[in-house]
Amino acid sequence: MLSLRNLTIDFGTGQDRVQAVKGINLSIGAGETVALVGESGSGKSVTGMALTRLLPEPPAVYAKGEILFEGQDVLKMGTEELRKLRGGKIAYVFQEPSTSLNPVFTIRNQIAEAIRLHRPEVNDIDSEVVHYLDMVGIVDPAKRISDYPHQLSGGMQQRVMIAMALACQPQLLVADEPTTALDVTVQAQILDQMRELKKRLKMAMLLITHNFGIIGGIADRVVVMFRGDIVEEGTTEEVLRNPQHAYTKALIGCIPQLGQRRKRLVTIDHSILG
């Protein structure tokens, strides 16, 4: 369904150029869930955003390669096509729910905007909004729809984000660290919810995380990124049981225990990796 070929992404030009993604190849089949794992700054988010050309240009430059979605190159799409792709076929859930929702619009407004854009056939938008809020486990959704984001807890905000992504019935959901900003108990609830939804809706998912601990039971395959490169790839079980690359081993070593929230608990010694 989706495949990246030799994708290279730079930031800036000339002297200040930084290569954030260095010619990676990656594919995701329909209904498949792929986990993209790597430490902070390894280029995961950049890869995820690139799928629909979301990175601000400038400074981002798609230097080389192609992004094929159902045979079409995303990098060659026009504005209208891109708009249909974003949200309609590939939807996103971002890391920080408290800043990712627009503070001055109600939840109804923000979800309805997505539905109106991609599913013009829907007549009763309000009930559709309620339906999706209910699906992601929001209690009493009919009452909640006229709330503003700041009136919800972090966990609820992230559920709203997920509902907004699902409301357009996308083929691929890109979840960029969907639980990092949340409390551990809420993290577990959201992950359970996503696991169940994935089964129910049969859509593909790209789960971006720095945490090997959360991918069990969701991801079919794991892709490990390090400094803009893919260093290891395999089924979740294989990689977890028998990591090949030293970097992966180190990453697995830092699966956080319950009760810990911070990133980068174990510093990785880059010198041993070359």
Partner: protein, 324 residues
């Protein structure tokens, strides 16, 4: 919200008192009433006439507290001045002897006719231009536009006015370039040029400021969310960026209100519009200290009123404040 506003009002009380103290120190301590009298009455003033002038205005009372036996302690210059300002008794002009309340009331309408349209038009124009600049987001255009804005900012108001008046009145031979009539429909005819000049003179600074503001909004996470939903660029700007930017804009706009007074001050003088600005310029030249003193007090009240209005607008525009 109501509680907040009331608290805010209470916060204003010491500030108003501070302003009164400031003007008192400036006009009665730094410059003694005798000196004021001599400057107002001119060279020919006799000691007798100075004394009369001071007595008529009550300026011959003790400065802070009346310690003369047999007289109440509060019969002093400071307390009477304070009492008069609190009751909005602004006194009379040093020069013409007319009540200041009358002078200011007369000047208010022409001033408002000039500043309100100018303010609204310039706000609309600068917001539109700023949004447009954010929309095209092209390095070359950005550079040119920023440069142009800085250039426009660097021209003093009076140069705008002199050149504007010159071009329109002498080269194009078009508008009445001077004077004012508030009656009927002739006011717009007189106001068109000053309003246009006021808009142009503020354009550079405003466009630059608003552009920066909208650009900052563009970098927010929720804009990424909107784009990821497939919202078009124009709609992202006009709905998401605009509404959030507006909230920040409100504070900046009120902060610029005092500049509005400054702009209109010169403009009114140039165009012979008998507004508050003209009253002030005339008072500077006279010199008429009573008018300047009262202007300072009224000006600060207007500013504080503007602050209160900002709070109200803020609450109205931002659900995070409106709903707790």
């Amino acid at each position: 919200m109501l509680a907040y506003l009331i608290r805010r009002l209470f916060f204003f009380v010491p500030i108003v008192f501070g302003v009164m103290l400031l003007t008192f120190v400036l006009f009665f301590v730094v410059q003694s009433p005798e000196a004021t009298a001599r400057r107002v009455l001119g060279q020919k003033a006799t000691p007798k006439s100075v004394e009369n002038w001071l007595h008529n205005r009550g300026y011959d009372k003790p400065l802070l507290i009346n310690t003369t036996p047999g007289q109440p302690w509060h019969d002093s210059l400071f307390v009477t001045q304070l009492g008069r300002l609190v009751t909005f008794d602004l006194g009379t002009s040093d020069v013409s002897g007319r009540p200041l309340r009358e002078i200011f009331a007369q000047g208010a309408l022409p001033s408002l006719l000039l500043t309100v349209p100018a303010f609204l038009v310039s706000l609309a124009v600068s917001v539109a231009l700023a949004l447009y600049l954010v929309f095209i987001r092209n390095a070359a255009v950005d550079f040119m536009a920023t440069f142009l804005c800085v250039a426009l900012m660097s021209v003093p108001v009076m140069v705008y006015v002199i050149f504007g008046q010159f071009v329109v009145a002498q080269v194009l031979n078009y508008f009445p370039a001077f004077g004012f009539e508030a009656s009927g429909w002739s006011a717009p005819k007189f106001l068109l040029l000053p309003v246009a000049l006021m808009v142009v003179s503020g354009l550079g600074a405003d466009v630059r400021l608003f552009r920066a503001l909208f650009l900052e909004e563009m970098g927010q996470d929720y804009i990424r969310t909107a784009r990821a939903k497939g919202v078009s660029k124009a709609r992202v700007l006009l709905s998401h960026v605009f509404k959030n930017g507006l909230i920040n804009l409100i504070t900046l706009v009120v902060a610029s209100l005092p500049f509005l007074i400054m702009g209109s001050l010169l403009l009114e003088n140039f165009f012979g519009i008998p507004g508050l600005g003209n009253v002030l310029v005339t008072a500077i030249q006279a010199p008429d200290f009573a008018v300047v003193q009262a202007s300072v007090f009224l000006g600060s009240l207007m500013y504080l009123g503007g602050l209160l209005l900002t709070d109200l607008c803020y609450a109205w525009a931002d659900p995070r404040i409106r709903l707790g």
